[in-house]
């Protein structure tokens, strides 16, 4: 239960060895480098600016190619979106591939392939809209170029929407004696037609057309019959499609390069990081300097690594500057380690306070179990977390957390009789041992007695809230602030507990012999809070006013404790929905023919979904209880997380030996 001890270091080295040192630091990943510009040595050294980095450009080109290839890959179903799909290689293989693989030519081919595809697809869209435009004119048996105006006769082609050609003809007949109209095609609401008229009547005819919302269409550059033009376009489309198909096949072939491209990407990405890290190196004419933080117990190792690689380098322990606090890394035993996820999510503690993780861990685990309360689900979670640990190489911390949650879920499920939502009536006879097990372990049925479950949830909340106060009290005593400990925490602990015990005695839940003790303790504590919780300033009225206001804070504690009622609801929701799933499954069994298959489908799908939704809910709400109800009682936070300069691989995973 603590924070990792950190040591500030300075590394001096010959300027010419800069890149070698950076590679070493990146490989070992022990040092968080500091920006020398913010340090007091800034005046004496020159800090280089890194503007553009070639490696950055290559990495982003390779990344684009990898993403392009993505489209040609065999899809792993919807689940493909979940897995990272990293390439697993040894360091040697990694380096060999970076050295030997002619990625430039592959990149070029992928780029050409993509640009050709884009070009073809643009053409395809163009042709499709061309065909759509010609479609109404397919009946026309005159080549388009022959429908042209002459010296005396004007001709227009176009469409009429929402009006009938007959109505137009009638309107035209009123103003013109020379027009000829031919309807080429007619759909329900739209007609396409050609109109000839004498130029003398142009003005009046065009006026009529305007009034009828006639939309003119021109095919100026086109020659030939619409039918022929369409056929030609269709032939071109077929050609494009077959070329696209070929390109697609070629793309699918190129997918085999993807793992190697991923390796190349990671290589250049690392190089880019290293280049950016140069901005953190200070140099004089001959010497380079890096300042940073290292875990104290790794200091000796760092010295060994650096000096054995670069003879004349020197690693020195240095004092932090005034007001500078070290970066934070949590350090806990294996059993608490998984719970660090919770604190890391919230934010790191600052350098001089306790790590809240071990204090929150038992509560978190228990609350998670409370939200699920089904021993069967607990077993599933444990199996699932172990399986995933076997197949995934990252995220083990979270998986162990789920494992721990699985254990408490089994416990909570056992005492409340939750086994996949089965009840005495629905347990099939061949699962008789489950029924016996359930009966033996079960202490109460939360569905029949929700008040008990409610009480337990609030009691747990009350315990955690006062526990938070006790931690802050100890912190205050440690900081030699006894006044704060007595009036800000002890008085509240006494007030809360005596008020609760008084209430319990009053309703007869506990013996009434000490009831007056509780009463006076509560009153005494309240007076202490009114009188002494505001300890700055001399004006007694202001002081008492603030004291009263602080006492009003008791509603906050009430709210905190009531917030734990969520445990009851989430727990019942899991069990209740599990029972609903079983009931539906039993109904499905009645479907003739496919009864058993349907039942199994409902059971598997339903329970999987229920576990997923409630495990997420259990995690989130248990975390929230720590963040909102527990941590603020004693925890300030604001520490900066320790982030050593290290390899950050996106697509690959380096292993020692080939498996």
């Amino acid at each position: 239960m603590a924070l990792m001890k950190m040591q500030k270091v300075a590394i001096f080295f010959p300027r010419s060895d800069r890149d070698r040192l950076l590679s070493l630091l990146q490989d070992e990943g022990r040092v968080e480098m500091l920006d020398l510009k913010e340090s007091s040595v800034a005046e004496d050294v020159e800090v280089s600016e890194v503007t553009s980095v070639e490696a950055d450009r290559i990495a982003s080109d390779v990344k684009r190619a990898i993403e392009d290839l993505h489209e040609f890959e065999e899809k792993g179903g919807i689940l493909g979106g979940f897995g990272g799909g990293r390439v697993i290689v040894t360091k040697d293989e990694f380096e060999n591939i970076v050295r030997d693989f002619d990625f430039e030519s592959v990149l070029k081919e992928i780029e050409e392939l993509e640009s050709r595809r884009t070009e073809l697809r643009t053409r395809l869209t163009h042709l499709e809209s061309f065909i759509a435009r010609l479609e109404p004119w397919l009946n026309l048996d005159v080549p388009l170029e022959e429908i042209a105006s002459t010296e005396n006769v004007a001709v227009v082609m176009g469409s009429l929407t929402g009006r009938s050609p007959q109505a137009l003809a009638k309107a035209l007949a009123e103003v013109s004696g020379t027009y000829v109209m031919e309807v080429v095609s007619q759909q329900e609401r739209q007609a396409h037609l050609i109109l000839w008229y004498h130029r003398v009547e142009a003005e009046v005819v065009e006026e009529v057309l305007r009034r009828n919302d006639f939309e003119a269409e021109t095919f100026e550059d086109l020659k030939g019959l619409p039918g022929e033009l369409t056929a030609e376009a269709n032939r071109e489309i077929a050609g494009i499609n077959s070329e696209l198909e070929k390109l697609r096949a070629r793309g699918a072939e190129l997918v085999r390069h993807k793992p190697r491209l991923m390796i190349v990407h990671d290589y250049f990405d690392q190089e880019a990081h290293k280049a950016h890290a140069q901005a953190l190196v200070g140099t004089t004419e001959r010497v380079g300097v890096i300042q940073g933080w290292v875990r104290r117990h790794e200091f000796d190792q760092l010295v060994k690594e650096v000096t054995s690689a670069i003879d004349s380098a020197e690693v020195l322990k240095i004092e932090p500057e005034p007001g500078e606090s070290p970066p934070i890394e949590l350090k806990n035993r294996w059993i608490i380690k998984p719970f660090e996820v919770i604190t890391e999510l919230y934010g790191m503690p600052h350098a001089r306070e306790v790590d809240p993780t071990p204090l929150a861990a038992p509560f978190f685990a228990l609350f998670f179990g409370f939200c699920l309360t089904d021993a069967g689900y607990g077993i599933v979670l444990i199996i699932l977390s172990l399986l995933l640990m076997k197949y995934l190489r990252t995220g083990h911390k979270l998986l162990w957390l789920i494992f721990a949650g699985g254990l408490t879920t089994i416990f909570m499920g056992a005492i409340t009789g939750g086994w996949f939502g089965l009840t005495e009536e629905t347990i099939p006879p061949w699962l008789g041992f489950v029924a016996t097990l359930r009966r033996t372990l079960m202490q109460f049925d939360p569905l029949k007695n929700p008040m008990l479950m409610f009480g337990i949830a609030l009691a747990l909340g009350f315990i955690q809230v006062t526990f938070g106060l006790i931690i802050e009290m100890i912190e205050n005593f440690r900081a030699r602030d006894a006044l704060a400990a007595v009036f800000d925490q002890i008085s509240w602990i006494v007030l809360l507990w005596s008020a609760v015990l008084f209430g319990a005695a009053k309703i007869g839940a506990i013996e009434q012999t000490h009831i007056s003790v509780f009463k006076w303790a509560a009153i005494g504590a309240a007076i202490a809070i009114i009188g002494f919780s505001h300890r700055v300033g001399k004006n007694p009225v202001v002081r008492l006013g603030w004291g009263l206001y602080n006492l009003y804070g008791i509603t906050g504690y009430l709210g905190d404790v009531l917030s734990y009622a969520r445990l009851l609801a989430l727990g019942l929701a899991t069990g209740g929905i599990a029972m609903v799933i079983n009931a539906v499954a039993l109904m499905a069994k009645g479907i003739p023919g496919v009864g058993y298959a349907a039942m199994i489908l409902v059971l598997a799908g339903g329970h999987t979904l229920n576990i997923a939704v409630n495990a997420l809910g259990g995690f989130v709400h248990s975390a929230r209880l720590q963040y909102v109800e527990f941590y603020p009682k004693f925890f300030e936070g604001g520490g900066k997380r320790f982030k050593p300069f290290a390899r950050e691989l996106k697509y690959t995973h380096l292993v020692e030996k080939a498996s």
Partner: protein, 159 residues
Amino acid sequence: MDPIGLAIAIFGAAISAFLAGTGSAVGIATAAQTADGVLSEDPEKFGKLLILVALPGTQGIYGLLGTFLVIQKLGLVGGASVGLNLWQGFQIFFASLPVAIAGLFSALHQGKTCAAGVELTAKRPDEMMKGVIYAAMVETYAIFGLVATILLLNGIKLG
């Protein structure tokens, strides 16, 4: 035995699944639409965003649980239906309201919060869980609605 009482009780059971479920459907739609936008740029985020999109779905589940609890209380499944009078029917109806209405509004607003969480995740994928926690704050009041419904139903004496 009053058939109107039973009908009113069933109205209560139905309304909790119906209102909370409607809220969830709309809430998920809000979050999913934003997530679709992000996926158009970065399809790899599907798994991460799914959590935020699914989150407003829980209110519908709470509503369904409310329905289930009433069904159980009334013994509607299994045939051993308890008799209840008009006023008991109303009691069950009113007891169903907290999860129904708190569920409805909590899901609608959680959908918006999750959509913002999706945007947060698009820009800073590592901070996704913080968006989830904020969204869970909104869910709290649907849960309290469910707590109220559970406790109220538990307090109603039938038979």
